[in-house]
């Protein structure tokens, strides 16, 4: 259900519709949702849309109005108000503040393998386990998933460990960061409970290889985002961070 919400963030999501997808009554659904996530449904949707807008302000040069409309606001003013309430700074100020500290692609290193390029990846089947919270705690999630995958004999020469992160850690507060620990599997697998299969269609990804300590990843990733925007990609890519095993 959470996945449905994430994929349909731009649609007019209404509580009754969402509840139907989850096969609950709207009232019950709202209670369950809040119990699981700590947020009401509307609150969750609003926050995700605003955070995505913040990331776009930070990473693209599109107009504030365009970003506001994409975030579901009818006008510049209402968006600015909501944005200021969440981030304590105006959208344009947020943009200028962030841009001045963003690293350029040049810091990624001079080895040819690290150069950014577009790569077609997929289709891929993965098995994943959702983690919400600071990235430093992701290890335990991987361990639980690995135990399940190992027990089901799904490790093999095809195996790649992946981390899929859905939020920009510069925008989203740490306790709300969403991340899937994942392993590639040889064919689509149904999963069990919180461990879910996920099929990723073939699509273009901006890709760069980062070699070195994990501590350098944030800088490398920011550099890649800049490159994306520099190439004039007009569709803001879904934020996914892959780290492979």
């Amino acid at each position: 259900m959470i996945q449905h919400l994430e994929q349909h963030l731009d649609d007019d999501l209404s509580l009754p519709e969402l509840a139907e997808v989850a096969s609950f009554s709207p009232c019950h659904f709202h209670r369950v949702f809040r119990a699981l996530t700590g947020e009401g449904v509307a609150e969750h949707v609003r926050r995700l849309r605003l955070e995505r807008a913040a990331a776009r302000l930070h990473n693209t040069s599109r107009s504030v109005l365009e970003i506001a409309l994409e975030a579901g606001y009818q006008a510049h003013e209402s968006f600015t108000r909501a944005f200021e309430a969440a981030f304590h700074t105006s959208p344009s100020h947020y943009r200028t503040e962030r841009s001045s500290v963003a690293p350029s692609m040049a810091t990624l290193g001079d080895q040819p393998e690290t150069a950014a390029h577009i790569e077609l990846i997929g289709p891929l089947s993965v098995i994943r386990l959702r983690h919400v919270g600071p990235y430093s705690d992701v290890g335990q999630t991987f361990e639980r998933l690995a135990a399940w995958v190992g027990a089901h004999g799904l490790f093999g020469p095809w195996t790649q460990g992946l981390g899929i992160s859905y939020d920009d850690p510069e925008v989203t507060p740490p306790e709300r960061l969403r991340y899937d620990a994942a392993f590639t599997v040889p064919r689509a697998i149904p999963g069990e409970g919180e461990i879910q299969g996920l099929d990723l269609p073939a699509r273009d990804y901006a890709t760069a290889i980062h070699k070195g300590p994990y501590s350098g990843l944030t800088v490398a990733y920011a550099g890649l985002m800049r490159w994306c925007c520099g190439t004039g990609m007009d569709r803001y890519p879904m934020l996914r961070r892959w780290s492979s095993t």
Binding site: E143, A151, G153, G156, P157, T159, G161, G212
Partner: protein, 211 residues
Amino acid sequence: MKTNAARAPIAKLDLYQTNKAEYATPRKPVLLRIAKATYLGIAGRGTPGGEAFQQAMGALYSVAFTIKMASKLAGRDYGVSKPEGLWWVDSGGSFKTEPKDKWSWRLLIRTPDFIGKRELEAARRQLAEKGKGPLVNEVELTTLNENQCVQMLHTGPYDREPETILQMEAFAAEQGYRFDGLHHEIYLSDPRRVAPERLRTILRIPVRRVN
């Protein structure tokens, strides 16, 4: 269980980089000295790619990845190496005379030296907790001390290996050596994904001086 945040993770160990020379893929046979190395392995008998073989490979990978994940969490990540195999024929016959279902093998995955019995037993416990079959208990830590070897890249179907082996044998003889050890293969290609003509396999056979 908290992740060990106090110790910053070292950059991931790549055994192929640290032991580059040993994974050379020469198109003509070469003589190499292969240092002592640790492997996870499981022995068995039967047709390559057959039922028993695949089950064993599955158990080997389950253990290899479970150990790797635990090591990664403890701050020492490394890449799981490509599969390898040692091959022999028990009866005293040869690969030429014995049918494939009588071939013996030990499937191997090279593992860093810092992985020991403790890590193996922890992995077994973890897999047992999840109801994994008894086969994982047959995966053992092995040390190979191959020393002087002849090594060559074989391209193409496995069935054409005899031609490559003949070349290796001739080369060894020229250098004053003869075969003395188990046939060892390193599977660079996944036969499920790669067409037989494009398979790349390293063949390695220990040798010793002819007196």
